[in-house]
Symmetry: C2
Subunit: 235 residues, 2 copies
DNA sequence: GAGTGGTCTAGACCACCCC
DNA sequence: GGGTGGTCTAGACCACTCG
């Protein structure tokens, strides 16, 4: 029982994208080209393209062709948590203050999160996101310095760290954990809150094909932030 | 430009399920039966079944047939938050204590949440869920009494309210909001906590085809509860 | 008009399940 | 063996985009 042909094609396309050889908006081969190239019928080639489209890796337009999707739109979960989009959706202005941006050596916790040896080079960034003038998120982020060597040279008041990463390399996977925590001294200070304050804390790890890229803690004051989601059954 | 044939078939199947005429585990027509019934090729009938399967409405087994999926497994979001499964997944024992179960008249907040006129009949249930002997979730639930008239007669130490609802009528849609809150006096008391305590609060509304069925607040102590999720790119 | 994706057909072979 | 879903083919017509 050999692997299905459509899967072979799908994996070929996926590898081209995950490896970074085809980046955002790259035009991928048409159904007919793939059918010829892999000696299959058009319907079989089509299935590979179709499934990758449903999974968010490709965008297809009638009469135009199939293209690698924007990395920032890959995952609905990632999208849900893009704070800039959310704030602008509410018609408010997003701004960002850089608190820290420096090179560090990974401590045990960070090493585990990034799957790196102890004392590996990592970048650490701390930022405060504002909605209009109100602080709404504290972002503490560790980045694998080997995978994204230019991270530390960016101006994160102009582009958010997540946007920079998504622009720079193909993020292929993400893991999220959400929990409620009491704000500690630092959080109270940066978000200008009075104790006791419950905060929603989102911990995210994101991957590229080469490994864990980034480990991030996003902390929001509970009464100012809600994460919503809708699940629908059928069409 | 007439509607695609596969969509017509898909909508037909969906209506049978959403209306409740076909319930959990009901065997749906085979690819060949649908092809004959709708005068289309097998590939077209197949597409309707296939898409409903990807959307979680059907389960298909080679050699056996296609069946209406368990309502409790319809949505990954719903599944994530099924506390019984989560506790048992951890190898611990779930139990449940009924605090309140009574008929009420909807106040403004509940009326809005359930899309009902003021002073409509609703049922209210309050329960504490335990993981082994530790309280881990406070559930406060309002149910539209007209849609689920027998709700109040159930024994919720044997079946959870969500299980009962999912068993009784087809839940077609759900909306979730998660936020961090400080535990109030009542929550501290029922979950046996000391102030100040940050809690993760999940607010859920679930629909059937006839309207909003239920409006629920689930409160968990922050340090004992995490909601995880993974997003993957491609296969 | 040439190329693209969207839909559809009427066949085919296979692995699987149940009788 | 008969029915089921899983894969695959070699065609077809259409609507769309672009040059």
């Amino acid at each position: 029982m050999p692997a299905p042909k459509y899967l072979t094609i799908k994996q070929y396309l996926f590898n081209e994208i995950a490896s970074g050889r085809w980046t955002e908006h790259h035009k991928v081969p048409s159904e007919n080209q793939l059918a010829t190239q892999f000696s299959v019928s058009r319907m079989t080639a089509r299935r590979a393209l179709q499934e990758l489209t449903e999974e968010g890796a490709l965008v297809r337009t009638k009469g135009l062709g199939s293209f690698v999707a924007s990395f920032k739109n890959q995952s609905s979960l990632l999208k849900v948590k893009n704070i800039v989009d959310e704030i602008e959706l509410r018609g408010m202005k997003h701004s960002c203050e850089l608190v820290t941006l420096e090179k560090r050596s990974s401590n045990p916790e960070v090493s585990v999160a990034l799957s790196l040896p102890l004392e590996s080079p990592v970048f650490f960034a701390a930022l405060i996101h504002y909605q209009d003038r109100q602080p709404i998120q504290l972002e503490a982020r560790y980045v694998n310095a080997r995978l994204v060597p230019n991270f530390i040279e960016q101006d994160f008041t102009k582009i958010t760290p997540h946007e920079y990463l998504a622009k720079t390399l193909p993020l292929t996977e993400a893991e999220h954990v959400v929990e409620a925590v009491l704000a500690d001294r630092q959080v109270l200070h940066y978000l200008k809150l009075n104790p006791p304050q419950a905060c929603l804390q989102l911990t995210r790890r994101s991957w590229s094909s080469l490994g864990v890229v980034s480990f991030t803690q996003l902390t929001h004051p509970g009464q100012h932030y809600r994460m919503g989601s809708q699940a629908r059954f059928g069409d």
